[in-house]
Symmetry: D2
Subunit: 359 residues, 4 copies
């Protein structure tokens, strides 16, 4: 992937900083003739929008997306789709401290090290605000891939894992949690962390259902590699696993084998064979098997905490810094729609790649 | 990344199948004037070579690399470097079963699903034999990045973790294990698995030391994303994490903060600030911090096991298959030099990207 | 180059249609720390702006550019630079005819053939309005390449060639013509064509001075190939030549040889050897020689003419069409700043590629 | 395009130098299931092979191609196709002079300027020997695009143009000339040039018939731009034009209009409308119209002449050089199959791009 472009054939280029006038994306390579309007995109943005509960940042952004090009009479034309969202609630004064000193765990120091200067207002380009455009582009990708369902949810927050999956609960959960009991515990954890000026990590699981067998490639364009890059490129992501992931390393070959039987059957494998299990998470040899495609992403606790931490100033002197701006106590929560969007972008790109090569 | 090409500026394109006449790679974009000969590449290949102990496949390959282009009077010319290795010890007859039926967990089924045909001899393109060319290309990447040390080792095998790091032990370990006691236990695990016709998973850790601060990019070309794609694209990889990785999701923001102090000090941060810790694994905001760059990769137990598993034939009938070819009981062992090579390729590519943009 | 992206390292992605709300570009990969404001871009846009004389279209656009991202406190940050220009003077009703029938020589038919639909308002994406964003991006590229002078001018209009080059005349010429006598003749040709509802072709020459020796590459990234793609991708371009171009095919090897002498001398070769001539146009083997880089681009007469031409309707019936919208009688005139911009973009991209590989 | 890779989806990476052990190409992204063997490639190489008449270089190369990967049981597998040709008749001693001094018009000087060193044996990477691999890859591209005919021929040699097209004559012409009278004159011109130790330029025309309407893209991936890059990237090319090209710049809008009538008719437009003419050369707005796709490429007279020319040594002193190696008196002749191959590669890549986006 290029610096600010994701994808090979469905290519998304995002731009914009946290405290600039707006943020945007250009989606190039979209197939023509797809029904598309702002109403197809806005609901996904609303899921990611800040300020929807006390558990996310209190920055107020309507995140209203406008389509500036590439759509004519309600259908995509095959030319670039330009998307824009205005920034509305910048408070750059919250960031005077950030101009002066580097926040540990943030991009402040490395931007100076790399570029020799940085836009410190709200974290500039390193702000998670950029992920709004991924969600917007992901909404288009969903239209491209059609009847593939993509659903992400939190399976772990602050080290506390879910133990069951109640689909209806997930629909209404403010924490993208499918386990009612876990959610109760997590609310308590989050309230405690917020009061303490601390933050918590989380693990997001994403499942794509209805992916046909055959998408991906044998070596460097493995769908596994694309998913890994897509997810690890989200702010605060520190780990990605597919199927059983790290747990697979503790199984034997027999335990890990996904035995096959003549299909099509009732396991959602899209007309291919039936599989007895899905340790692999829907991919073999870099190519989809037709089973559910499953990945998990670990998010660190945000570095924006009110507790003072030792650091240095931009001119190299010792100091401490505490983050006083408005921040999410657990960035993993709002990462859920971003993880879904990145999965949609990977799948749409691989769909087009597959269609190009294999017709 | 393209189908069979890795990298943007230092671009490696590999070709070849397990049982074809040879395998090869073209390394394009290499800076000129670098001293390079086969002797710079062969030692890394020898580390990966099969048949060096009873713990790896008994296929006998000398894996002798030849440079066919791009080097003149012992120095790179800036034009493509073509590398080739002859295949010597194919036994395609071992694979008659594979022609007939799909091995669960292997690429057999998905290749047919994608391409409508497959080279079943030794797994064709999906064989880990392709990784020899990554190791060869990685040897060139090491020359490009100069004094950066890259060292990988196993931290877990069959679910059993190392508890200490004894550098001299690692130098001679046949299992790339830095913990003498763990190695003893692992030998027993491997012997048991081999006798049982089973296989084991493993986790490989890789550390790059001496990486300057400032390599990487803020969004889709994050060095984290590149590492994730590079590692997840290795055969049998199911998970990647950077720094504390999945464990970071269980820390609080204070615990995870890598506090900074005026440097340069003695923490290897290359003239930048000192860091009190390295939970982040050497990267922040997608850009290197100057600390050690640390990643871990989970490898599943190979699906090539002697235990019969239910599967289907290429024409969709139920059958069972047992793998009788020569295989590694733990592919994680021979993945160690591959992980190192992929890290070298990521770093060399990002070094050139950084030099392009920032001079 | 990708569909709507130009460049490898300095990457320009443009978006927008003739009659949409705005047009824009995202410039990614720009080196950090470059002083940049709208005032650096606007003058180049003003050169291309329509409606400046009776010889160009009477569409009135202020073409005021705004920078939405990537610049902080007057300097580039290394992150994507988003540029936007509002469309102000659309008259879509002029295009009712175009909705109904295909204009020969235009993209109307092929867009329907390719995409199954088209935005017919003002030509949609195929309008030369897109070239405004190339000029804006080219202004940034000029800052990247520093002290390289790029100057284009018309050397032929309506089949009538210039015979001399008077630099001061070019500065004030409304026709980008450096030959005062030719300009007088061209004014008469243009007035006649406009009255006749006809249009004229032209040839633009571009010269880049101060390009160092060594930019480019031996094979597919030859600077010649990049220039050819850049120029042939401009609307209405039908031919590109470098140095003596097609005339070189009529010379002998001796006549065409650019003999070299020890330098540096006074031929502008930047410290390298002196050359007795520059038939090659500043490139050999795909790489710059340090001499002036010279290319010429042929532009067809625009297909937008008032004379009725036989054509078909979108549903395949015979009809005739005459273009009644506001159009340039000779698109070659306003192509001059576009040609300059594309040369700047090629050079900036190759400069970064060279710096990446050769330091 | 990358340094040594051509194409986006059908990607050809070539490697090798004139006097290395071999030259090769890796063709990635080829659709699976295409019947392919060496016998499909060799005939095209034989057309380009040197030493077939007294009008081309006397270097003797059998140019026997071998397929090393990507084909199984006579069909492409969708994985990289590695092609190799051994170099057989190097005479590096012919090049001692070249090691010492720079040949004007050759890449000698610029390679040193760029890379700081060069493989001077036979011109190294800058030798036209690389084009053999383009021809080999082009043979695969022809299989990908199926029933599209691609035919190139010389329309001008030494400034002398053909005036008629006799298809059967072209089939047997040693000069790729379709005009029997012109060929007689050209033989005399070539003999005279060879005796004089001189060289001649040429113009090659290429026609692709049967290309469907709709391939290409509106802006930077215009098929025109791809053709321009492909052709200008051939050794010794100095100009490219499409359709009427530079002559179109001398027409009026009415003269240049390609009027359309309801089709399908007998003009080869593949089921679309009939066109009264084809000034455009088969493309409008960057996209194919379904008419014949026509381009012309100007080749300079080779700089390898026996007449001494002033130059400098590698250490900057004045000298003269005469080329004594074996060379083509008119490189345009052997460029004919290369031009065809590049057209095939452009079309195959655009076909896959079109299929990806538009299904």
């Amino acid at each position: 992937m290029s610096l600010n472009t994701f994808g090979r054939l469905l290519r998304v280029t995002t731009w914009g900083e946290s405290h600039g006038p707006n943020i945007g994306a250009v989606v190039d390579g979209c197939p023509p003739g797809i029904a598309l309007g702002e109403a197809d995109i806005q609901p996904w943005l609303d899921k990611r929008k800040p300020g929807q509960s006390r558990h996310t940042t209190q920055r107020r952004e309507s995140d209203t997306v406008r389509i500036l090009s590439g759509v004519f009479e309600g259908r995509t034309t095959g030319t670039p789709i330009s998307l824009i969202i205005d920034n509305e609630d910048q408070r750059s004064k919250d960031y005077d401290e950030v101009a002066r000193a580097y926040r540990p765990g943030h991009a402040d120091y490395v931007y100076d090290a790399k570029y020799g200067l940085r836009d410190w207002r709200g974290g500039g380009r390193s702000s998670a605000r950029e992920t709004a455009m991924r969600v917007a582009a992901g909404a288009i990708a969903r239209k491209v891939i059609g009847n593939i369902g993509i659903r992400a949810h939190l399976v772990e927050l602050g080290g506390d894992r879910t133990t069951r999956f109640v689909a209806p609960h997930l629909e209404t959960s403010a924490l993208a949690c499918a386990d009612p009991e876990a959610e109760e515990r997590w609310v308590a954890l989050l309230d405690k962390a917020r009061r303490a000026g601390s933050s918590l990590g989380a693990v997001v699981e994403v499942i794509a259902s209805g992916v046909p067998a055959g998408w991906g490639a044998p070596v460097y364009a493995k769908i596994d590699a694309d998913i890994a890059a897509a997810m690890m490129g989200i702010n605060a992501a520190k780990g990605v696993e597919i199927g059983d992931g790290f747990a697979a390393a503790r199984l034997t070959g027999e335990e890990n084998a996904d035995a096959m039987r003549p299909g099509p059957g009732d396991d959602g494998s899209g007309g291919g064979p039936d599989f007895d299990s899905n340790h692999a998470g829907g991919t073999a040899g870099g190519i989809t098997t037709g089973q559910d495609l499953i990945a998990r992403v670990a998010f660190k606790p945000t570095s924006s905490i009110r507790t003072p931490v030792d650091t240095i100033t931009a001119d190299g002197r010792a100091t401490t810094i505490a983050t006083t701006g408005r921040h999410d106590p657990c960035v993993g929560i709002r990462a859920v729609p971003v993880v879904e969007a990145m999965m949609a972008l990977v799948l749409a790109d691989q769909m087009l790649l597959h269609r190009a090569q294999c017709g």
